[in-house]
Symmetry: C2
Subunit: 456 residues, 2 copies
């Protein structure tokens, strides 16, 4: 059957590169530590929206499940072909269709890598603020489908805030345009926003119109270490209450600092503690002023502060911050990170609960994340030598999700629901909203073939 | 029948104020010059989401149409009971349920007036940026239902960008919560964004969680007059290309300056021309720096500039700007303003076409609006002494909508589709998106009773 499907799909696509010979890479995403895997019946990489439409139409007529895939960097199993089907990858949809830095806009295809867009913008004096982790691999289309965040979402909002229009293929195989790339458009229901964050369940995003802004001249981080979770979270609150608008407001709990700190000499010298990283941005004067104010707010209760102004040192700090996830995973060989987000008043409670839930299940646990957004990467470490640790981590995640929901939080601040968190969505949103989500999904995908078994 | 409906509704509501005796005010909105009117069967003002649910349930069971209404300041006839039915007003849903300026958030009921929220925020050092016209009358719920904009949407985005959660009553009469007031939440389909801008067709918004930010210390406008549309729009482009981020970027065409300029002595002294207003905001130093840069970009081609720094003078400038719509309406006794938005490269074309389309239909015409967003208030003046001018204005609006759609623009940048623009929506979004919008509407409102005859 697989060979037959591949042969048929090959006929639909112009280039021989369109059907990719089965590669292990398409069987999982960044949840691979958690053994979420599936064998696709075929992997296709169409080179145009019309080719995507042809593939979806072919599959839709034959009731073959479709699994949209971007860079495969997701943490929720959203791109894993758990029940087989045809994986549709955006990797060959890479054209920059229009780029007008002078008018703050770009029109790009879904497979453009996030860092490619970020770099193109920077080189032309403009800024595309969304900065999810793994931007070297992730695709813009995937970022949009998951409504990805990142440290600078604190000031600039998540990916969706920068999307002014989408081109997508929706079942049974139609190319639709939702939004026209305008910064203001309130004509009709906002289907564009509905597709943003829909995790491939409503259609396959092929291109996007994106909004840009003038690049801030300076980005100056300020880092501080605190005695414990309580004083660290008070510092986060103090920054919010100070009237200063930071560009990013991150934290790393004590266990994370202990594990990852060694790779960053300035911090290692600062000793243990709960770390807060805030960033000032803007023109030279403005960034310097905000940096000074951030330091004034953080310093009194901090046991150590650091505020590099040298560009190389700043790059080093963020490169280290980006690598925290890998350092934690390396500790025992694997990890499960859950991106719950909660109201700020319960952030310290969730940070502490992550560690205690881990302990209750016999797991080393820690968290870091986007403190100003109340968004944790609550992490349970998996021991490669102890396969039972994966089972225990599932129970720990469940406890964590229940807690996040019970305090008014969400099971996902930025990774999406995917395959992993599906059992918890209805509990969070309630049966009334859940039913309507399912009905809306059915409007777009009456046969339930688009990333079935995911999100809802 | 009307008396019977009112009697039944009175029994559902706790207070005698809940059913309002027929008042002419509820028969129209700000389109009253255009003779859009309707007689409601009843007007109710529930005081709680549960009362809204009781009213909607009662009407839904009996197939009585429902017309949600905020402050009645809409320009698209969205709140006009064109076919009768029960008008549900948010005017008694006015509680501030939670206000935490230190944590940049508020939870308010739908009937709170926009300016009340703006003032409350300001008095506490925070800022709610959306600033649609008529903020003294408009309600937050109505702003959200229309996804209203305003001058500062240029930097800060439209109303929807500030909504982190909604409470709404959806048919057949259920109170649902969409979003939990978190700045990041990607769990499930984004039904919150779907309700934003849905113009009451999916449900009745009863309360919202809103995001706030620290208030900019200074807001410093810079105004300049140019020879003509071409040089004025080049100046708008030059500001975008300069790398400076203005908080607002407005324009008024020559005819608008001619009509409204007399009411603003500094401008009247500046003589005729095409006006551009840009605003710098931020800390004292930052606002001063941006103000200087804006002046440097605008001055070379301008025939006159003005950049007040005195707070009273600044207030006077914006008060005058807010009154432009009224001044233009007063010229002949009435007007039709259409809020088309277009890509920036065709903004000058649309500004000129507004005047020439008006002339072709024998109408005095002008435009002003949010230039940086390509968003015009293209206006055809109605002569009270000439009832035919209304008929001619409809033909002019039609030409304008066709043009906006043909150049990649939208029929509505901020007012919504309402009753007025319904015939043009499908032409803009195309049949595929239009069908899906209708199907999504049916998911929420299977009987088609929520603001029927509007938007879609």
């Amino acid at each position: 059957v697989r060979r037959e499907i591949r042969g048929e799909l090959r006929r639909l696509l112009e280039s021989d590169d369109g059907v990719i010979e089965a590669s292990e890479a398409y069987e999982h995403d960044a949840t691979e530590h958690q053994s979420f895997r599936g064998r696709p019946d075929a992997v296709v990489a169409p080179a145009s929206p019309e080719e995507v439409a042809a593939v979806i139409r072919w599959c839709y007529e034959r009731e073959v499940p479709l699994v949209p895939r971007g860079g495969g960097t997701g943490f929720a199993g959203g791109a894993v072909p758990v029940d087989g089907g045809v994986v549709v990858s955006s990797e060959r949809l890479r054209r920059i269709r229009q780029f007008e830095p002078q008018r703050w806009r770009a029109h790009v295809e879904a497979g453009l890598k996030t860092h490619e867009l970020q770099r193109l913008a920077r080189e032309n004096g403009v800024y595309f603020p969304p900065d999810p982790g793994a931007s070297e691999q992730s695709h813009i289309g995937g970022n949009i489908a998951c409504n990805a965040g990142g440290p600078h979402a604190f000031k600039y909002g998540v990916t969706g805030a920068w999307v002014t229009g989408l081109e997508a293929v929706v079942p049974p195989g139609d190319v639709v345009t939702l939004g026209r790339g305008l910064t203001k458009d309130v004509a009709g229901l906002d289907l564009k926003s509905l597709l943003i964050g829909s995790e491939g369940t409503l259609g396959f995003i092929t291109a996007a119109w994106l909004r840009l802004i003038p690049a801030p001249e300076y980005q100056l981080p300020v880092m501080a270490l605190f005695e414990d979770v309580g004083t660290g979270c008070e510092a986060i609150d103090a920054i919010l209450g100070s009237g200063v608008r930071a560009a990013a407001l991150e934290y790393l709990d004590e266990r994370t600092v202990e594990i990852a700190g060694a790779a960053y000499p300035p911090l290692a010298a600062g000793g243990p503690g709960f770390a807060v990283i805030a960033e000032a941005d803007g023109s030279a004067d403005e960034a310097a002023r905000i940096r000074k104010e951030l330091l004034e707010v953080l310093a009194p209760a901090a046991r150590w502060t650091q505020a590099p102004t040298d560009r190389a040192e700043i790059r080093e700090l963020w490169r280290w911050r980006d690598g925290v996830s890998i350092a934690v995973a390396a500790q025992l060989g694997g990890k499960v990170s859950e991106d719950v987000a909660v109201p700020l008043d319960v952030l310290p409670q969730l940070i502490e609960a992550t560690v205690s839930i881990g302990a209750a299940h016999g797991l080393d646990a820690c968290s870091w994340g986007h403190g100003g957004d109340g968004n944790l990467h609550a992490t349970f470490m998996l021991d490669r030598g102890d396969p039972e640790s994966l089972t225990r981590s599932r129970a720990a995640s469940e406890d964590l999700f229940e807690l996040a929901i019970s305090v008014g939080g969400t099971i996902s601040g930025e990774h999406g629901v995917g395959f992993v968190k599906r059992p918890y969505l209805e509990r969070q949103v309630g049966p009334l909203a859940f039913e309507r989500m399912q009905a809306v999904r059915q409007v777009f995908d009456p046969k339930g073939l688009m990333n079935s078994g995911k999100a809802l």
